[in-house]
Amino acid sequence: MTATLPSRRDEAWRYSDIDAVAAAWPLPAPESIIVPAAGSFKRAIVQDEGGIRQIELVIGKGAAASLHVLNIGGAYGRIELAVTLHEGADFTLGAAQIGGGEQTLEIVTTITHAEPGATSRQMVRSVLAGTATGTYLGKVAVARGAQQTDSEQDVKAMLLDRSATANAKPELEIFADDVKCAHGCAIGELDAMSLYYLQSRGLPPAEAKKILLQAFVAGVFDGAEDEEQLQALALAKLGELV
C-alpha cells in the first residue's frame, strides 16, 4: 500500500478521484484478515457512503474465503483487496459496482498465489450511468513455484449513457510454468433488441432496463452471506439509474 499521497501517475490510482483521495489521506492501516489453515471465511461488504477501504486477506493452507462486494455509494468509493493464497487455498470475489451521476467507483485487487494448488475466482460487474466512472484493476501474481495455480477474472461493464466510463484492466504476473490463468473482459451497452422485445410485451422502458441489468449483475452474489439483501440493494440502486 502507498505511503505517500498517490497521484494519477501511480498505475493503481490512474482513474481515481484524486481530490477525494487527498481528503481521505492519510489512510488508516488496512484491515487485516487471516484465515487459518483449513478454515473458511465469508463476508459481504456494502460500500454505500463513499470512502477508501483497504483489506489485506491471507488465506492459509487449504482454507477458503469468499468476499461479496456491492460498491454503490458516495462520490468516491474504492475497495482495495490484497489477497495472499497459501497452498491449496481458495478465494472467491463476487463484486458489483453500480454508479451514476458523477460517482467514481473502483475495485482494485491484487491476488498473490504464493504457493501451489490455490484457486481464485473473481467476477466483477459494473453498471455505469451519467458521467460515472467505474474501474476494475485486478492483478493476479503467481509466485515462483506456485504450480497448479488456477485463477480466473471475469469482468464486465455496462454503460447506460455514452458519457459514462468503464476501465477494466486484468493483469497477470506469472513466475511459474504450470498454471491456468483465465481472464475475460467486456464493456458494452444494453442490447437494443432485447429492450424492445421486453417493451413490446408491456414493460415501460425503465422496467425493461432494470430487468436486463438485474440479469447482468445476477450471479455475482451467488452463495453470499445475505445474498437476498445484496440483491435487493443492488436492484434498488439500479432502479435509481434507469
Binding site: Y196, L198, S200, R201, G202, L203, P204, I211, G219
Partner: protein
Amino acid sequence: MLQIENLHANVADKPILKGLSLTINAGEIHAIMGPNGAGKSTLSYVLGGRPGYEVTDGSATFDAQDLLEMAPHERAAAGLFLGFQYPVEIPGVSNVQFLRESLNAQRKARGEEPLSGGDFLKLAREKAGLLKLDMDMLKRPVNVGFSGGEKKRNEMVQMGILDPKLAILDETDSGLDIDALRIVGDGINSIMRRPDKAVLLITHYQRLLDYVQPDFVHVLAAGRIVKSGGPELALELERAGYAEIAA
C-alpha cells in the same frame, strides 16, 4: 379496430413502405403475403413501434388512438401484440418473471389490479398447456436454448397470457414442423378467434392458412398492398407465385 392509411416508412433512410392502406375490423383475421423484401416485417415493426423504423407519412389508428404516437409498452397496454419472426433470447431473465411483470404493467396502465403470483402461474400453466409447451420451459430464461419451434410456441404462450385485442404475427409459421404448425394454428384460433379480437398474419406460405382460415388475404409488394381478396387468393398465389399476381 386498426386503420392504416397511406403509410410510408423508412428504415435507415431507405423507403420500405410506400403508401400502404389496410383496415382490420374486430372479429376478422387478415393474412398478408408477399415476396422477400416487400416490407412485411417492416410493417409489423412499424406497428409495434420498434426504434429505427421511421414513419414519414400516413397514419395508423388503433381503437381510435393514434398508434404511431404511442411508445411500444403503451401499444401493448392498449391491446396490441407483436409475435416476432425471430423471438429474442434474453439470458438471465426468466420467462415467468418477465411475463408477470409485463402483464401487471399492462394491467396497471389500464387501471386494473395486478394479478397475484398464484393466479398468474395458473394462467401461465393453462396457456402453456394449450401450446403443449412444458411449464418448466417457462421458468427458464427467455428463449435461451429453445429450438425454433419452441420459440414460436413461446410467443403464442405469451400472446395467450397477455390476451391482446389485436395480434400481429410476423412469420409465426416459419421454422415450424408439421406438428408444431398445427399446435400453433390451434393456439391462434383458440386465443384470438373471438368477435372482439383480430389477427394480422404475416406469412410466406399458404400452409399456416390451412389451420388459421383468414377472412381476407392481401398481397404486399414493393411497400404497398397490390391485391386483396378472400382465402382463395392465398391458394392462387401458391399456385401461380408472387411474380404473376403482383405484376
